[in-house]
């Protein structure tokens, strides 16, 4: 097994460098970064409204079915309609904070659907994880919130953590994501800026981040586009555009 030292010896010889570090790249200017990050967090309703327009237009182009709703209640209703129209029976959802504020769980349940929430049991993490996976594999749809949405690319961003699974948005054939206007970012630059800011502030990055841009797709057989190869074939966005107080 090559030791790290031998590897770097070869590498530095190839670079024509002496051993040791010869570069101290200027670190990101954390003051400027913090300022930019707060500027993004404090965008005006007008800015957010125009970003939402751009986001919706782009999201539709990359394959999201978008519903725009004026309230949380309307969002719940939209999800229920969608589920009933497709004859869904089982829905699995993540425990995004947004999904606690939107009465979607109750609405689905009272419409006769079975709704499972992702949250493992601290007593038996292995067992509950296996059980949840089983649920997800057989669910008709996965329901999630989003941590960000990106207007530039029509994507949503998910940061898995307690209650937020990596795979609720992946295993079921349909993915439904609830997004609020305030979550829409202008660009990839903004996303990475916010992530970098968090990284510098907390000293670590979370284990996982998914940028999701439309359905799962492939063109590997005869270069013909097919959706839903490993991930969902149908993806829905419910954008909640509430009036700001």
């Amino acid at each position: 097994m090559a030791s790290r030292e031998v590897f770097f010896q070869t590498l530095r010889r190839a670079l024509g460098k002496a051993p040791g570090v010869d570069l101290t790249p200027p670190g990101p200017d954390s003051v400027a970064l913090t300022e930019k990050a707060s500027a993004i967090r404090e965008r005006s309703p007008a800015t957010l409204a125009s970003l939402s327009e751009a986001f919706v237009a782009r999201a539709q182009l990359v394959g999201w079915h978008v519903s725009r709703v004026p309230s949380k209640e309307a969002a719940a209703a939209a999800v229920v309609n969608l589920a009933l129209a497709r004859g869904m029976k089982h829905v699995v959802r993540s425990a995004h904070a947004l999904l606690d504020r939107v009465p979607v769980h109750e609405a689905l349940a009272s419409a006769g659907l079975e709704v499972k929430v992702v949250a493992y049991d601290d007593e038996d993490p292995q067992g509950s994880r296996a059980a949840l996976r089983e649920v997800m594999l057989h669910a008709d749809a996965g329901l999630t919130g989003a941590d960000y949405a990106i207007a530039e690319t029509g994507s949503i961003v998910l940061l898995p953590r307690r209650g937020v699974s990596r795979i609720v948005s992946l295993l079921p054939p349909v993915h439904i994501a609830l997004v609020e206007t305030s979550q829409v970012l202008e660009s990839l630059d903004d996303l990475f800026l916010l992530r970098t800011e968090e990284f510098l502030r907390t000293g670590s990055l979370r284990g996982y981040m998914s940028i999701i841009t439309g359905p799962s797709r492939t063109a590997d057989i005869e270069q013909t586009l097919v959706v839903g190869v490993h991930g969902p074939r149908e993806v829905h966005l419910v954008l909640i555009e509430e009036e700001f107080p």
């Binding site: 790249p25 990055l205 063109a219 991930g231």
Partner: protein, 464 residues
């Protein structure tokens, strides 16, 4: 194994071009070319050039300080709870992967498309130890089922028609025959699902690795990259050591360049950022994370001023394997004598340089490689004595005007029996490679140098 593939390239290229399935698939690919052009046009030419320059500068910087950024990346992976292996060659990388797999008593490894994994030949190694590697990219899955080596001019399963895929699925998966591409995809989805959920290890490549945070970035459309990094208990990421970029914010540049250049998408369906194993407060994800950083000839490229640029390559899309930049990278990784044909498999038309998202001067790199093959250091060289004598003879003729003239006259006379209506429709070996499909013009009976004495003393017309 890449060696076999590259050494057989001339024969394979001949076979596949004769295959009508490949021909029609190649034509369908023009769809991708158009999508790419549209995606670039949408950004605007000026902005696109700015992005390319920016991407190029980041790569230049990262490669010039590769030692620094690799250490930083490795330290951050470890800080995030992951393990790092520095592998000098394919064998060391395979040894490490095998060791991890055996320690976990793994029986199945699911793989998301990775060029480095092909480069190392890890599948063969795993199989020989009773561990089953399963490719999950649909194209690669089909090829693996068929027991073939992917012939990557453009896409792994380029040469398979949907009927062939249907037959293959019936034969190997024991399913009812379906003909539509959607149904075939659904069969693969179901078959791979079963393997995904019970696999012990997920193995992926790394499109980029962010040094600042120790993050592996994986770009896929199918979702197999997400599956491989979410379901199994262990995730092993293989990266060529040139894949490191300094900062997270650099990803904004490369995520704009890569999908547009590859498939003409604004962004691929899934862009996945993995930083170490699952955190304690996460619902799912692997308990273990390993990053294998592979040299395998890259430091040779790095040491070579004329070739270093090839390391800036971000491998945009599946087709690069057999495409021009593959012709640059493969010979260096496989060793030139093995892959000596590849640098010659290009017209040097320069179109690749125009579309390269990081502005690599591919045709000039290919010229350099050609000279390494014919006259480079002994380890790279591959030229027969006959070729060497021919080269010297050619040099003598073109640096000796009377000999040049004489050679022309000799050719003009020798061609006489072959001339048909002022053209040559057949020529002997090796020139018949030309005349099989094309006429060759006749050698002039009076070359320009002979005509010059007649026209030399005429003068420019007088201006009136």
């Amino acid at each position: 194994m890449p060696e076999v593939k590259t050494a057989e390239f001339p024969r394979l290229s001949r076979q596949s071009l004769a295959d009508p399935q490949v021909q029609s698939s190649l034509r369908r690919l023009s769809h991708f070319i158009e999508a790419r052009e549209a995606a670039v046009a949408e950004v605007g030419e000026q902005e696109w050039q700015r992005l390319r320059d920016q991407g190029r500068r980041i790569k230049e910087h990262a490669i010039a300080h590769l030692d620094y950024y690799l250490e930083l990346a490795a330290d951050n992976v470890v800080k995030a709870g992951g393990n790092v292996c520095f592998a000098r060659d394919a064998r060391e990388a395979c040894d490490y992967v095998l060791k991890v797999a055996q320690a976990r008593r793994a029986r199945t490894v699911i793989k998301s498309k990775s060029m480095v994994s092909e480069e190392t030949g890890i599948n063969t190694v795993l199989e020989s130890h009773g561990i089953r590697p399963v490719e999950t990219d649909l194209g690669e899955y089909i090829i693996q089922l068929a027991g073939e080596t992917p012939f990557h001019i453009v896409a792994p399963a380029l040469h398979k028609s949907k009927e062939e895929v249907a037959d293959l699925f019936v034969q190997k998966l024991n399913v009812q025959r379906k003909e539509s591409i959607t149904e075939l995809t659904a069969i693969a989805r179901a078959a791979l699902r079963e393997i995904f959920v019970q696999a012990d290890i997920g193995m992926t490549g790394a499109n980029f690795v962010v040094a600042e945070t120790g993050t592996v970035v994986i770009v896929t459309n199918e979702g197999n990259g997400r599956m491989s990094t979410s379901l199994p208990r262990v995730h092993i990421a293989l990266m060529g050591m040139e894949r490191v970029v300094p900062r997270l914010e650099d990803m904004a540049v490369f995520l704009r360049l890569l999908p547009r250049s590859a498939t003409g998408q604004r962004l691929t369906s899934y862009t996945t950022f993995v930083t170490g194993p699952r955190r304690d407060d996460e619902e799912d994800g692997p308990d273990e994370f390993h990053l294998v950083i592979l040299d395998n000839g890259r430091s040779r490229m790095l040491a070579d001023e004329a070739l270093r640029e090839a390391l800036y390559c971000i491998r945009c899309g599946a087709w690069v394997y057999g495409g021009p930049i593959g012709a640059v990278v493969t010979p260096i990784l496989a060793g030139l004598p093995q892959a000596r044909h590849l640098p010659f498999a290009s017209t040097l038309c320069g179109a690749c340089r125009e579309v390269c998202p990081v502005k690599i001067n591919i045709p000039h790199l290919l010229l350099t490689l050609r000279s390494r093959v014919t006259q480079g250091p002994p380890a790279d060289r591959h030229a027969s004595w006959l070729e060497r004598i021919a080269a010297r003879a050619w040099q003598y003729v073109v640096t000796t005007p009377w000999a040049f003239g004489l050679a022309g006259r000799a050719a003009a006379i020798l061609q006489l029996p072959l001339l048909r209506r002022g053209r040559l429709r057949w020529l002997p070996q090796p020139l018949n490679a030309w005349t099989r499909t094309r006429d060759f013009p006749r050698v002039a009976f009076r070359p320009f140098r002979a005509r010059w004495s007649r026209i030399a003393d005429q003068h420019p017309r007088e201006k009136t």
